[in-house]
Symmetry: C2
Subunit: 84 residues, 2 copies
DNA sequence: CTGTGACTAGAAGTCCGTA
DNA sequence: CTACGGACTTCTAGTCACA
């Protein structure tokens, strides 16, 4: 509760991972769609990269959704962690 | 209608501008809150910049919302343009 | 299939000033 | 207050070898 302006940055990668797994895609397949290196996707999902809007857009598009959907998922994931 | 994976990237800046104006903040004030250069905010709002997740997060937080909200606004703005 | 460290060209982001 | 430019520093984008 009381989740004003939670840092979604760390959850963006997890949201990407969730969407990717829902589509039964491997990191390699997603990377191919987004025209991004496989290891880069790995870094994004783990939160060790700080991607630009352009890259994020390409990833979201390759997941068949918009960034608003990805960030909505990110918030859901962050909300789950709040019950602790 | 039927807006699958619209490019929200170009509307992110406009969404930021809308949120900022709703708060009656100047670009300078927003920049100060987000600890970002004044001229950079200007560039982001005009869509001539390609900000990183970190910066976008700080901007959204300084607007009192999360990135999911900003991108939801971005989608609304893009939807308005679709009626043409 | 995925995680990780290291590397470099080029873009992100800062800071100055002008209109 | 904001748009825009140039010069500068910091960091990301993109890639590879290896585990």
């Amino acid at each position: 509760m009381y989740s004003r302006a939670v840092k979604l940055s760390s959850f963006f990668g997890l949201a990407v991972r969730r969407h990717r797994q829902l589509l039964r895609l491997s990191q390699e397949e997603l990377a191919a769609r987004a025209v991004i290196d496989r290891t880069y996707i790995s870094g994004v999902e783990r939160g060790v990269r700080n991607p630009t809007l352009d890259v994020m857009e390409r990833i979201a598009a390759s997941l068949g959704v918009g960034l608003d959907v990805v960030f909505a998922t990110a918030r859901e994931l962050s909300a789950e962690r709040e019950n602790e």
